[in-house]
Symmetry: C2
Subunit: 340 residues, 2 copies
């Protein structure tokens, strides 16, 4: 009887080799399905693997192969994202789907404090992942810097606000806002306001620019109210301000479906009918859009595809391809329901 391993320790290739009566090299070859291993050796090794309960230490393997077959997803500001952003789940699934097909493991890392930030930066540069997808955020935070300094293949979902030279997957916010505002105009609305969020990033700025362009000369600056978040609560606040400013308002473009939902609640309270008195449109085509009363006309954002595209940008770099810098844009479409 061969000396047994201590029961608290896991079986290694050495144990398998000893049990099968072959060398470590042969075991490794069987494990990696390489050619040039005899049927008898293979059978002995496979039996031994079962007998000793061997499972490969992927971390040790990565040390020598110099790749982990894992890609990190960095999620900043989880409070607002997870609790308010209805698209985050779809983005995550899109990323996972693309990575899964390429046999990469997605590992999601949440940054919820400065302490997290440092630890995640260490994890990312510590050899646990081969690349990273970063959701929105700014590139010049500690993690963005660490990623750039370490030269780790990366891609962003959404354009980071403070840097140009990075690959990212996004949508054309300007054109989308332009298009849906034009349709609002085409339905005969004449006093159209906007509840604008995220003006500190270019997605927000672009939506405002598209809105402004669509209205042309009839644009009225006082009918744009700025709110801090893409949230339902901010929709409540924003709509109240708009009604104060112009009680005759007959159209509203909300920066997100959640904001639009808040606006609808205020309008109902104020006794305005939608779409009779006021037409309301949103942005995202998230789960909100179907729950509102009435259902929301909105810009459909291909959240899953955005995630998938960002993941593909990373995978391409992992294959050694040059993906170039700047945005990779996906198409949006307008979903016209009954709120306008």
């Amino acid at each position: 009887m061969p000396a047994a391993r201590p029961s608290n320790s896991r079986a290694t290739i050495n144990d398998v080799a000893a049990r099968a009566g072959v060398s470590r090299g042969t075991v490794s070859r069987v494990l990696n399905a390489e050619a040039y291993v005899s049927d008898s050796a293979r059978a002995a090794v496979e039996a031994a693997i079962l007998e000793v309960g061997y499972v490969r230490n992927e971390a040790a393997r990565g040390l020598v192969t110099r790749r982990s077959q894992a890609v990190g997803l960095i999620v900043h500001e989880p409070h607002s994202l997870f609790l308010e952003d209805p698209n985050i789940g779809s983005i995550l699934l899109g990323i996972n789907s693309a990575l899964s097909e390429a046999d990469y493991q997605l590992v999601s890392l949440v940054v919820d404090s400065d302490r997290d930030s440092d630890r995640v930066a260490g994890y990312i540069t510590g050899g646990f992942v081969d690349g990273v997808v970063i959701i929105s955020a700014r590139a010049h935070d500690p993690i963005g810097r660490a990623v750039a300094a370490a030269g780790i293949p990366a891609a962003y979902v959404g354009h980071p606000i403070d840097v140009e030279g990075v690959p990212y997957a996004g949508i054309d916010n300007y054109s989308a806002a332009l298009a849906i505002t034009r349709r609002l105009v085409a339905t005969g609305r004449r006093r159209i306001g906007m509840i604008a969020a995220g003006l500190d990033r270019d997605s927000g700025q672009d939506r405002l620019a598209g809105f402004t362009e669509a209205l042309g000369p009839s644009f009225r600056k006082e009918l744009v109210v700025e709110v801090p978040l893409y949230s339902h609560g901010c929709g409540l606040d924003g709509m109240r301000l708009l009604l104060d400013t112009d009680p005759e308002i007959d159209g509203v473009f909300a920066s997100s479906d959640a904001i639009a939902a808040g606006a609808l609640d205020v309008l109902r309270e104020a006794g305005r009918s939608v779409p009779g008195d006021v037409g309301v449109v949103g942005f995202d085509d998230s789960a909100w859009a179907l729950r509102t009363q009435p259902p929301l006309s909105t810009v459909h954002q291909p959240a899953g595809e955005l995630g998938r595209r960002a993941a593909e940008l990373v995978l391409a770099q992992l294959r050694g391809e040059d993906v170039g810098l700047g945005g990779s844009f996906l198409d949006t479409s307008i979903v016209w329901r009954t709120s306008a």
Copy 2:
């Protein structure tokens, strides 16, 4: 000039040692803030670290220290969870918070296909994490089995449906349902129905049992409708069925806030006033509860604390403590708003 490293490769301890004119051992001691290193050596090493741009390879470190300082979070069924469960974000943040304090990195792993399942199992057993938190789900899936077989410290959020001997963090669903139904009764409701979801797990069963107990002899079996998911859509369906069964129904206990929100929509459509004609209560105290019209009376579930507790169960095992098996229960409370 010392031979430079190839620019595509990262600096190692050897590079730092060479640059600083000391041995690897000394560099390692500086890195780990150990005692017995002279000020001069320390200064030289620290300078060299900056000069060569050294960042530690944590994966290699884990190979020798035999711990990764990371804990995995396994999320099954992301479609329904991420898109419908409003508590998942809070749970995640609670887990992250507890791990962060103990200097562990949380890595979230999504299981969205059989392929994912195998890959995640390999990742978990592959030395990348020291322990795992598993959200709900069943324990006898490939991952649960792999975790058990490998003897990896684990804890569940919510009671897995098909296994007993695991530590988990949960709430007392029976008592919570009992309490809120009793309050519904106390407001004078006499024809009370329930929209029940998740009857395939004991959380769902326990809520039904608490409801039944609270009603006592006035319990009417036909006023319990079963729906497959904890979703808004199922709330619509369930409420329609209840109205068909008993148009005079004056109270509803919904298995979740999302279901309650759906029920409210149907009641409004049907011209019933809430809480005038019908009292409605939910479960979760999720973001839904404040958005509904009127705001929802519901059971507050400490989602963040549940995550935190599960993480602590894993951390305790990592410290070598015996956490015992079975549930670790957290208190719920009733939030009485205006829907009942």
